[in-house]
């Protein structure tokens, strides 16, 4: 068999890139690490699962419907989002998880020689998609664990097409206030697209936290990302969306893949959207869990980075990747933060008390004396 001349076929920027290898399914991990149970505290999933109405949709989904293509542009879900946020359905674009809409936006606006600007210690996908698409990702160091607005403005030039602001930031939980966000948008003055990634929007209870949706009419260069993976507990179905002005969304739609969101995800999201009781219950759980972790981990003299969102970061007196391996043998799965450029830190999802207690117990056992 002749080999394929990959070296000649691959663009240089793809050659430089290494594929992301996701972790194995739980059953395989448990076998590998020799544990009989596994608490997943690594992906910021909602331990309560989806809202009850969405659960009911999932239970009742008629199997023959799996043979029928879904709505190619998530027609009913966009109607519902428009109703919730008082906008036009054409102002929404739904994707196979928020990761897919990141890709849509970058493909729509960037061409050879362009760049994107974002933080250095934030969600990696903005940087990855830009780089493996051949665009420069300008990474601005965080200041006090938060996006540095002045420094980001300093990186924006005439070839900057998109600025990504993760608000609240994953993994630090810091956020820009409404006033701060406005100041930044005013300074950008429509020169490029500003994406506010609000994947954890529904978890934030602070009064000065901005609602990106309400800023869209005022700032036509603004695009807001939200997801059903976190608060709404539909991570396994992969569904997220973006919102912007009709003009901007119309442009992004040109690069979007239709039919990429499956029927089950659309129906579950439709039932989940805006479920206030579910949001309240989840917030209560997160508040209590954070308090518990704050108290327990402080007693262990471990520095914490606690902000908004259903997660917190812990600095360990040891390598985070070693801590991962040790915790896995005890059935606890956390996220190592080396890949987020926070060496020796772990990010822990705030979950049910049973899981958090098991985590604290396991952590005590693995910490160096």
């Amino acid at each position: 068999m002749k080999s394929c001349p990959l070296d000649n076929l691959l663009p240089e920027y793809v050659k430089q890139f290494t594929a992301y290898v996701p972790s194995k399914p739980d059953r395989e991990l448990m076998k590998t690490f020799g544990c009989s149970r596994l608490f997943r505290l690594n992906n910021n999933e909602n331990p309560l699962g989806p809202p009850l109405a969405a659960q009911e949709v999932l239970r009742r989904f008629p199997p023959p419907k799996a043979a029928v293509y879904p709505s190619g542009d998530c027609y009913y879900l966009r109607q519902r989002l428009a109703e919730l946020f008082h906008k036009d359905p054409e102002q929404f674009l739904v994707g196979n998880g928020a990761n897919e809409v990141i890709s849509f936006v970058i493909k729509a606006f960037c061409e050879k020689g362009d760049n994107i600007v974002t933080g250095d210690k934030t969600f990696a996908v903005y940087e990855w998609v830009a780089q493996f698409s051949g665009f420069e990702a300008r990474l601005v160091p965080l200041r006090d664990y938060a996006f540095d607005d002045e420094a980001m403005l300093g990186e924006v030039d005439e070839r900057t097409k998109i600025v990504f602001v993760c608000n609240p930031n994953n993994p630090t939980g810091t956020y820009w206030s409404t006033a701060g966000m406005r100041r930044f948008l005013d300074a950008i003055d429509g020169r490029c697209i500003v994406v506010i990634d609000e994947a954890y929007y529904e978890f934030v209870e602070q009064d000065d936290y901005p609602d990106g949706m309400s800023l869209i009419d005022e700032y036509p260069n603004l695009v807001v990302f939200r997801t059903f993976s976190k608060m709404y507990g539909l991570a396994g179905l992969r569904i997220g969306y973006l919102a912007g002005t009709r003009e901007v969304v119309d442009v992004i739609r040109r690069t979007c893949i239709v039919y990429s969101v499956n029927a089950l995800a659309q129906e579950a999201a439709l039932a989940a959207a805006g479920d206030e009781l579910h949001i309240r219950n989840t917030r209560d759980l997160v508040r209590q869990g954070k308090e518990f972790l704050r108290k327990e981990l402080t007693q262990l003299n471990l520095p914490l980075v606690v902000g908004e969102g259903n997660y917190l970061m812990v600095k360990l007196p040891m390598s985070d990747t070693l801590a991962y391996r040790k915790l896995m043998t005890k059935g606890i799965m956390i996220r190592t933060m080396t890949g987020f450029r926070f060496p020796n830190h772990i990010r822990v999802t705030v979950s049910k008390m049973e899981a958090l207690e098991a985590f604290v117990e396991a952590l005590k056992a693995i910490l160096p004396c």
Partner: protein, 441 residues
């Protein structure tokens, strides 16, 4: 950072003595064009001549060969590439003595002679192709001597990438002044070399500086293969014992490599300022220090990803070591036994030898396993001892079952497993080192 593009020229020809002048002229002219001085280019040309004669007369008369010449800024690399099926594989053992030349010295192969003329010599088999690589380093004027007044602690510092040649040279001078008692790598000895390797994109350097530009410390790192990064330092100059500079320098190194796909970070020359809490001790290797004394250095490792677990192969003689190491390091591995069951196998073995003349060390790697593994290995050890090589290593990839068959031969010849490099090959690499005593062959 990944190795940057290197300019290259290529010659395609048959291994036939008629083409010898062409091959040597190609090597010499390209080496000079890529920046070597004439004496260096001549050494490389002589090495190429030895290899080409060896290929034409012994290993593969008439076979097709491609010769690549690459300029790396601070070295020139000549690579011979040829399809494995055209060649007699066992003739690539550096110990092979056969020759068709009636005047040849039967005690040595052209490969061994060539290895003496260059700093690095490597033979390997990759995807049905054989590759022989010679690396000739540019010579740099006088090594650095301690010549600076002692450094003072900085009042405050920030970390920056070092690209300015004068800063890089100053860093090397500082290392040689302040860290004179430590074992540090060759690249820290010649200021000009440091400038060239950074300019070539093969190494990166971060510095801790104050507002006036005074250097308080530095760290250096480079890619080692496709998944491993090696770092040197951090070197701190006159900083207080409780300084956070070492961690800050290491953080900057990790930030740079964190999203590159690198799997591990290793430090084989730990300094007193290395923040140990970032690393795991893998084991130790013995190096020959400048004064000829053997120095035991702990290799520190940091995994950069979440371990996915895996399967490795092992001969029964190695299983205890693997179990102990994996337990110590908390790497989840299923160890599958490799045992012969009377099946037929090749009568001969082939080893590749990577010479690092600068550090007086050779790393042997399995290319082919056969019945004569014990004698093949013993032959290599004897030859390398005659060459006065002080450090002899053997790298076994336990992701490849056949390589485990070398285990009994290694043990019988006096090699000891010293450490595991996770994910450094198809699977993990086990590094064996020949103990200083005589081989038991």
């Amino acid at each position: 950072m990944k190795p940057s593009f290197k300019p290259e020229v290529v010659l395609r020809l048959r291994a036939d003595m008629t083409f010898l002048p062409l091959a040597t002229a190609f090597a010499e002219k390209s080496a000079i064009a890529f920046g070597l001085e004439e004496p260096e280019a001549l050494s490389l040309t002589l090495a190429v001549e030895e290899i080409f004669v060896y290929l034409s007369r012994t290993a593969c008369p008439g076979g097709e060969v491609r010769i690549y010449s690459r300029g790396g800024g601070y070295f020139v690399e000549i690579e011979f590439l040829f399809p494995a099926e055209d060649f007699d594989m066992k003739s690539f053992n550096i110990t092979t003595k056969a020759s068709l030349d009636p005047d040849a010295d039967f005690s040595e192969t052209g490969l061994l002679i060539a290895s003496r003329m260059v700093e690095q010599f490597r033979f390997e088999e990759i995807e049905q192709k054989l590759r022989l690589t010679l690396t000739k380093a540019k010579t740099y004027p006088d090594h650095c001597v301690p010549d600076l007044p002692p450094a003072s602690p900085l009042k405050g510092f920030s970390i920056k990438e070092a690209v300015d040649p004068e800063e890089l040279k100053l860093l090397v001078r500082r290392i040689n002044t302040e860290c004179a008692g430590q074992v540090f790598p060759e690249i820290c000895r010649a200021p000009g070399l440091m400038v060239d390797i950074v300019a070539a994109g093969d190494y990166k350097v971060a510095l801790a500086v104050d507002k006036m530009g005074h250097i308080g410390g530095g760290i250096i790192w480079k890619w080692e293969g496709t998944g491993l990064i090696e770092c040197f330092g951090p070197y701190l100059f006159g900083q207080p014992a409780d300084s956070t500079m070492g961690s800050a320098l290491l953080d900057s190194c990790i930030a740079d490599i964190a999203r590159t796909g690198a799997k591990g970070l290793i430090n084989r020359f730990p300094t007193p300022d290395l923040p140990k809490e970032y690393f795991e001790p893998l084991g130790s290797l013995t190096f020959q220090a400048g004064d000829g004394e053997a120095a035991e250095l702990v290799a520190y490792y940091r995994h950069l990803e979440e371990d996915l677990g895996g399967t490795v192969w092992s001969h029964p003689l190695l299983e205890g070591f693997l179990q102990h190491q994996y337990r110590k390091l908390f790497f989840a591995r299923e160890i599958l036994p490799v045992k012969r069951a009377g099946e037929s196998c090749s009568p001969f073995s082939v080893l590749s030898a990577e010479f690092d003349r600068g550090r007086n060390r050779v790393t042997l790697r399995p290319v082919w396993w056969g019945e004569d593994a014990h004698f093949c290995l013993a032959d290599h050890v004897e030859t390398l001892r005659r060459e006065l090589i002080s450090s002899i290593f053997f790298e076994m990839d336990v992701g490849k079952s056949w390589q485990c068959h070398f285990t009994p031969a290694l043990v019988e010849n006096g090699f000891q497993p010293r450490l595991i490099l996770p994910y450094a090959g198809k699977g993990d690499l086990v590094i064996f080192q020949l103990t200083t005593g005589e081989s038991r062959s």
